[in-house]
């Protein structure tokens, strides 16, 4: 049984963690480029230089001494997001939807006074949320106002798009939809559902929920998930493709959100993107990679690569694609 399952997965081109680490991450992602993705401040800086849209940075806090500058940074804005520069998996992110008279209301409705705010910032600066517990910086940035396209199919929280970019080609994409069970988080382990998106068209596929079950309708809103067109699809793919030049990483995951006003914004990049995207798309990554490899050198610019990736996708990554 084990061997049969193995052969079937291999035939479908499913990528396992070991193969991802050994053949793709280690081979394509130079270690020296990791700080670009691990340090979100640096990511943002480079993204701006490469014309990849990101949420506006209001300021950053590097030492406990600077905490008191926070009110000046946000000026007269009522909402903002606090984000540790080295945070992983969304830890330590504080979304403030409203602030007045030194009191801050978080996205989940909790009210923080200045003391609590100070404590959170001190913790973040001392490295509680960073990889390895090293002292960290905190970014103060624009709070994304989500495009209403996902309102019907997400429960609170942050629906985000994850695009896998292989050697500059956007290969696979999914949207992670928070549910009540996942407590508004976009983490598939915690009950969020993931829906693949056809690269060629930008139309969502049926979602996959807990236990790999196919979920046609969002468990909380009841709205059908499949068949929705993601707006600004071409721009999303282009942004993702540009991240290749931005980071120099041959295998990366780009997290992109849709803002109602500014359109797609790149939130963060990941040098070790997870493999659940394969489940959401019901397809193996390596099957697609094999099609791209012989063509990888043909296209130069990000636009050419996106066109090529979409052409491949339109032909269903069939063997005769070349």
């Amino acid at each position: 049984v084990i061997w049969r399952r193995w052969r079937a997965l291999d035939a479908a081109g499913v990528m396992g963690i070991n193969r991802r680490n050994a053949d793709y991450i280690m081979a394509l992602n130079p270690r020296r480029n990791y700080p670009i993705v691990d340090n979100k401040l640096l990511t943002k800086e480079l993204a701006i230089r490469h014309n990849v849209p990101v949420p506006e940075l209001y300021g950053s806090i590097a030492t406990p001494h600077e905490i008191r500058k926070l009110p000046a940074m946000i000026a007269d804005r009522r909402d903002f997001v606090l984000k540790p520069a080295h945070g992983s998996q969304g830890d330590g992110i504080l979304v403030i939807v409203d602030s007045r008279k030194g009191r801050y209301r978080t996205g989940s409705g909790r009210l923080l006074d200045w003391g609590e705010m100070e404590h959170h910032l001190t913790n973040a600066l001392s490295g509680q949320f960073s990889l390895g517990g090293l002292p960290d910086k905190v970014m103060v940035e624009y709070r994304v106002r989500f495009d209403p396209v996902f309102d019907e199919i997400s429960y609170q929280g942050v629906p985000d798009l994850r695009v896998i970019v292989y050697r500059g080609y956007p290969l696979m994409c999914m949207v992670r939809l928070p549910t009540r069970q996942s407590d508004g988080k976009a983490n598939l382990h915690q009950g969020a559902v993931g829906a693949g998106i056809a690269i060629a068209t930008g139309i969502t596929l049926p979602a996959v929920g807990a236990g790999n079950a196919i979920v046609d309708e969002h468990p909380d809103t009841g709205a059908p998930i499949a068949g929705r067109l993601i707006p600004h699809w071409d721009r999303i793919l282009l942004m993702a493709a540009q991240c290749y030049e931005l980071t120099g990483l041959g295998y990366l995951g780009a997290d992109i959100v849709l803002d109602a006003e500014f359109g797609p914004l790149m939130l963060e990049l990941n040098a070790r993107p997870g493999l659940n995207v394969q489940i959401a798309n019901q397809d193996g990554l390596r099957r697609r990679i094999k099609r791209v490899d012989p063509l990888a050198e043909q296209a130069r610019s990000a636009e050419e690569r996106v066109a090529l990736a979409q052409a491949l996708a339109a032909r269903g990554y069939a063997a005769d694609a070349a």
Binding site: W6, A8, L9, G13, N18, R19, Q190, N212, I279
Partner: protein, 508 residues
């Protein structure tokens, strides 16, 4: 290119490690398997005498030297107040105890631990000259000649002559009575056998030996006869004339001279007690190897001081644990806290045994975790919080020990040996995972850690594994090769076969 490089490295590691292992095993004869019931004997000689008036005393005792079929690997002299000197010649050793002023009853002990060994053979001895025919006064001369004639009648060659001589001397006829008296000492009988043999100009000697019998006390040395047949020495039991050295016979002295000599005292007594013991197999193997290959053993772990050795016997298990972690994580796909925490936990289990270790670990981590969550509400900074958790862990361990002692459960006490830093790390890691990825993930990783630790522990405590690693540390090179190969393992993890099962139907 990189892959070929790796393969060459792996092959050379396997060749070096395997080759050394094979050489030590086949050529040098190191046993691969720990000898489970290596036969060892403990022999204790007790010397007792009395010194009625205060004054000096000197005791000289012959000690066994290279006895056939045995290896002496441990000796102790117990002699309070006496000075001890040892001399050793080619095939004899002498211990001398001396004291300047002493009075009253005295007891000295010599204790030797012997290992039965097929490899040890009797020392080669040159063929002796033909002995002169003993000259006796009449009527003994005639009695002896009659005896020799009778023995010659009953025998065909030197071996049968010797056997017949021993049988004849055990007889009770008038000739024997004349030569030995009515109640002969064993030494007198042996000397008579020697005289018979010498009369026939057969080289023969008396030697003294001890029969090793389980739990024997007040044993005495026996006089045995060895006879040279022109090519080799033959050994005879004078009791019944049977030939050959029994496996349980310890040759104490190669001549008939008294084993014990006393100056300045009286009433000397020498008695032996023998006891059969099963020594720790590893210790025996180590001593055996040291005996047989002293040169090589000088550069081996077994030559290190015992304390260092026992440290290495644990340390050598760490790579094995690490290899298992690699296997469990990268091939099976069990998720664990940290990379090598399971190894550390497994080492901790060595102190507590498995079941109680699992229970204690779960208990203390669970209690520590709830306190960690309470501390979280107090909003402490990272480092003080870690220090607080550490303190609480120590207190919990003390509490568990005291409580279980009150309850009369012994296992609780071993918790104090449980490395507390490992616990603190486990609690901190678990609480972070708990908050970041939810209780489910934390439980999963916690369980994975315990399973991995249990598997590693089970392997670590296997004596065979410990033995092989200590005697053949080069096996680690082969293990290293395995780890390097696993470093290039790009196949699926077993858990991924389940995770991606929906994709097994083939891609779209």
């Amino acid at each position: 290119v990189r892959l070929r490089h790796l393969l060459i490295l792996v092959l050379s590691l396997v060749a070096t490690g395997g080759g050394l292992f094979y050489y030590k095993w086949q050529v040098l004869g190191f046993p691969v398997e720990a000898d489970r019931d290596a036969q060892t004997w403990t022999v204790e000689a007790r010397i007792a005498f009395t010194r009625p008036q205060t004054g000096p005393a000197k005791v000289t005792m012959r000690l066994p030297a290279a006895p056939p079929g045995f290896i002496i690997f441990d000796e102790q002299f117990i002699s309070r107040g006496f000075g001890l000197t040892q001399e050793s010649g080619p095939d004899s050793r002498v211990a001398t105890w001396a004291v300047r002023r002493i009075q009253g009853d005295q007891a000295l002990y010599y204790r030797a631990t012997l290992l039965r060994s097929r490899e040890a053979t009797p020392p080669p001895r040159n063929s002796p000259p033909f002995p002169p025919v003993p000259e006796l006064e009449q009527p003994y001369e005639i009695a002896l000649q009659e005896l020799v004639a009778r023995v010659r009648q009953e025998s065909a060659d030197i071996a049968t002559f010797a056997a017949a001589a021993m049988r004849a001397v055990r007889g009770n006829d008038s000739g024997i009575r004349l030569l030995l008296g009515n109640e002969p000492e064993p030494i007198a009988r042996a000397e008579l056998v020697l005289k018979v043999l010498h009369s026939a100009r057969i080289p023969a000697e008396i030697f003294q030996a001890l029969r090793l019998i389980e739990d024997r006390h007040e044993a005495e040395l026996e006089y045995w006869i060895m006879v040279h047949n022109g090519q080799e020495w033959l050994y005879f039991d004078p009791q019944d004339g049977s030939r050959g050295l029994p496996a349980n016979l310890l040759v104490w002295s190669w001549n008939a001279r008294p084993v014990l000599q006393l100056e300045g005292g009286r009433g000397e007594m020498l008695s032996f007690s023998t006891r059969h013991t099963i020594e720790d197999a590893l210790r025996v193997a180590e001593l055996k190897a040291k005996r047989q290959h002293p040169r090589i053993m000088e550069f081996s772990i077994l030559d290190l001081p015992l304390k260092t050795q026992s440290m290495y016997s644990i340390l050598l298990l760490v790579p094995l644990g690490a290899f298992l972690v690699v296997l469990l994580r990268n091939v099976i796909g069990i998720s664990t806290f940290g990379t090598f925490m399971p190894v550390l936990v497994a080492m901790a289990f060595r102190e507590t045994k498995l079941v109680s270790g699992l229970v204690l670990f779960t208990l203390i981590v669970a209690l520590g975790l709830s306190i960690r969550f309470y501390l979280e509400r107090l909003r402490l900074l990272l480092v003080p919080r870690l220090a607080a958790v550490l303190t609480v862990v120590v207190l919990l361990m003390v509490a568990v020990s005291i409580f279980s002692h009150r309850m009369g459960i012994e296992i609780g006490l071993s918790v104090s040996l449980f490395p507390m830093v490992i616990m603190t790390m486990a609690i901190e890691r678990m609480s972070i995972v708990w908050e970041e990825r939810g209780p489910g993930e934390a439980m999963k990783e916690g369980l994975g850690t315990l399973i991995a630790a249990a598997v590693i522990y089970m392997l670590m405590i296997t004596p065979q594994v410990q033995y092989v690693l200590l005697v053949f540390p080069e096996v680690l090179l082969v293990l290293l090769a395995g780890i390097l190969l696993l470093g290039r393992y790009t196949g699926y993890r077993m858990t991924e076969l389940i995770r991606f099962k929906a994709l097994a139907g083939g891609g779209k």
